[in-house]
Subunit: 167 residues, 2 copies
Amino acid sequence: KIVKEVLFFPDKGIACPNVSCEDKNCRYSHESTCLRALVNHLKSAKKSLDVCVCVFSCHELAETLVYVSKGGVPVRVLSDKSIGDVVNSRIPDLRAKGIPVRIHNTPYLMHHKFAIVDNELLLCGSFNWTRQAVTGNNESVIVTNDKDFVERFCNEFSRLWELNSPQ
Amino acid sequence: KIVKEVLFFPDKGIACPNVSCEDKNCRYSHESTCLRALVNHLKSAKKSLDVCVCVFSCHELAETLVYVSKGGVPVRVLSDKSIGDVVNSRIPDLRAKGIPVRIHNTPYLMHHKFAIVDNELLLCGSFNWTRQAVTGNNESVIVTNDKDFVERFCNEFSRLWELNSPQ
Ligand SMILES: [Zn+2]
Ligand SMILES: [Zn+2]
């Protein structure tokens, strides 16, 4: 089955974490949102989930990785040292939950924003994993299982993972 | 003909603007670089060239747009107001050369980084049009002429172009 999607942010709100929510006072969004589509793709991981994203501060996406990891799927996160300056960085949290994280630390940025599910599905675009990117910014994420794209990003992830040591 | 490429930056240097350069002392790179591949794609425009990029400070890419525009191809540039804070913004230059530019001005970012050649070829990824992104950062750009992707980005460009007035 061929997957070809584009997610265009911003969403109108943050998707409610409770899929069957009936709370009339709930402040979350219950429409289909790009964040929900993104989360569903990440949660579909059965063998591996590799995330390579410059800035990671979105609580909902960190929760998603923890959920996948607790389900027994190896999750790896590559991020940039600039994350240290970001308010609400999720990196310490992810490490505390046992997810291996490697940080790119040079004068230049590891500016990628992509994730690979099961070495088969690529999510790639302008989208940093921040709340502002979800509900504020104009952002685009291409979702594809085209091998010609996926394989090249798998190689790039492996290369950068080896280059950056655990700290 | 199907186009499916991924450009992974950084390049080792800036591609020499002189394709047939034989200057032994030339400091530019004469290997095939991602920047050169990007420039060649942009220069292939025959009908239109639409650029939607959050930060635009790279001199070589501005020169490329001017070259395309002087060849009679309509070029449009959408960028973010944050560009005003960026050293070496190419926006005033582009306007001075007659290229229409619209600036997204809200508390949030127009954070896209894509370009569309002839409404047929999409270049999309993490790559801002800055010198640092070319020779320093780790960046990725997907190049594809798959209609399912291209059309959705054409729509997004049109939508944002209409939303933001010329200033
Ligand atoms: Zn709810
Ligand atoms: Zn030269």
